[in-house]
Symmetry: C2
Subunit: 348 residues, 2 copies
Amino acid sequence: MASFPPWHNSAWMKAARREPTDYTPVWLMRQAGRYQPEYRALREKVGFLGLCKNPELSARVMLQAVDQLGVDAAIVFSDLLLILEPMGLELTFDDGAGPIIQNPIRRPADVDRLGELDKLDPLDYCMETVRLTRSGLDDRLPLLGFAGAPFTLASYAVEGGASRDHRRTKRLMLNDPVAWDALMSRLARAVARYLNGQLAAGAQAVQLFDSWAGCLSPEDYRRFVLPHTQAVIRAIEPGAPVVSFATGNPALLPLLAEAGGDVIGVDWRIGLDDAWRLVGPDRAVQGNLDPVVLLSNPSEIRRRVRTVLDQAAGRAGHIFNLGHGVLPQTPVENAIALVKTVHELSRR
Amino acid sequence: MASFPPWHNSAWMKAARREPTDYTPVWLMRQAGRYQPEYRALREKVGFLGLCKNPELSARVMLQAVDQLGVDAAIVFSDLLLILEPMGLELTFDDGAGPIIQNPIRRPADVDRLGELDKLDPLDYCMETVRLTRSGLDDRLPLLGFAGAPFTLASYAVEGGASRDHRRTKRLMLNDPVAWDALMSRLARAVARYLNGQLAAGAQAVQLFDSWAGCLSPEDYRRFVLPHTQAVIRAIEPGAPVVSFATGNPALLPLLAEAGGDVIGVDWRIGLDDAWRLVGPDRAVQGNLDPVVLLSNPSEIRRRVRTVLDQAAGRAGHIFNLGHGVLPQTPVENAIALVKTVHELSRR
């Protein structure tokens, strides 16, 4: 009989495989971040990009957060957009305005400017973060790698930053489907290679973030996005659970499930019970508390945790999380209380 | 037998009552606006607030747009936030940043600062815009009055402008439900009075815009918003169709329908057929083309109009519209082509 590493039977990994667990595992997107005084203090000394490219510091902020919160999984500390640098885009992070791409893809011809990510060397710092985080982490906890999904990366690349209406991206998609397909295919190959690299470096599972997909109609998602997300998921090394997360449009959930993944990430815009119905019983689900609830008070947090757990109804395959990243204004004690409350109220 | 005014049997009014029409009526949210060269030229001479408070100019920009586009309805040219001025909030419009409220409601005690809108005199300019638009409009076309729904107004009032996460608003809602209820009730009474004033001044129907409701979970919408939207709709003078529009979260559609209204406005995040199923057969629906489609090309526009019409399947009670306002970057000829195409492809 093969012997499994200790994390194999962790609550998170079992839930991702839809096996019963003693309690509902929980972690928080952006669990290491601005809401922590330690993180803010560090960031006064080092810029965001500098932090992401420093594996020792990146590993340390995540290990600190895991320790402080008592969560059931760690995730590589990094940023969605770093993959775009070795592909030829120039990134800058301005604390107020968010990420800016200095040389965005504006015309169909610009797509050729985006290079193929044919080797991972330029992203070695991320692989080193994976190794250091894994080696510092309790071996009963899994470490998640992650990447932006092709649509979200394409939107950043085309808009040059965050966007409200994603109009440049959609215009390229509608007016030049051939260039769009080339762009998305190149991104999908890069993302798959990047995620497999993180798995090889020591991650146990991976999460795809499609943060902007919610701006799409189901018709456009199916036609212009689904095949590429599917290509990424199919290319992931077998055996590692894949979490596929999109935010902003519950009507996309059936299509997200169709694109693949073992665990479907759900935001708060839909009840978890309705979400699971749309996703289907053959998937685990992750979510889905509104991050703003962590700005309220302990009794409201407790009430809302109970609602989410009630909607999950004790079915195997629920990983508790927020429906989006922890807000910078979150009191640390509320995040800690959330994790405790999930463990307490879900214990079977 | 009573004689009806000419607009009574217009395609728009019949569709709002779910009566069969010869073709699908169409109008566009923000059909008078920055995408038109005439509008931009006018706005070089007058600020946005100045324009809204000038009934002659406001009527003229709408009549011009109706004439140019050949749409089946006009809407009062105005802004969602003007109702907040006589209630004690100081508005400024900065073309880049959007509306700013100088004295937002930040603490529960601030709610008392928001005055009751007990008479409409300070909004006379809007009523005069209604009268002038009505008298200049072809009497076979209906004129819609409009207002922001209580949640969207509350969010502007609390955040002090547009917001990405609406965290101050939700924090007030979760931490002080009593203050929240007072705020929303006051806004609901004001909105009902305002809409009834527009009907008395000559509008034939009204639309509620809940532009920010999509940030809410169904649970929060039901608990904190639905009763107030319902109160507005119940207070509208009988006989005038009410369009209830929210954007950003298809999972709210059943609750939007539950709150009332004759026509439910739908954005592009869900197919119109699925949306109509969620809303129920006893309502008309309005929507739902992605405004970005108007930045593409005539053949794509035609294809997408056909998809929406196919999803409506010729059922009585469909009013064609975008799922959100016309984007400033829209070529005027594409907006004109859209209206023509809807009329042509839907003619029975």
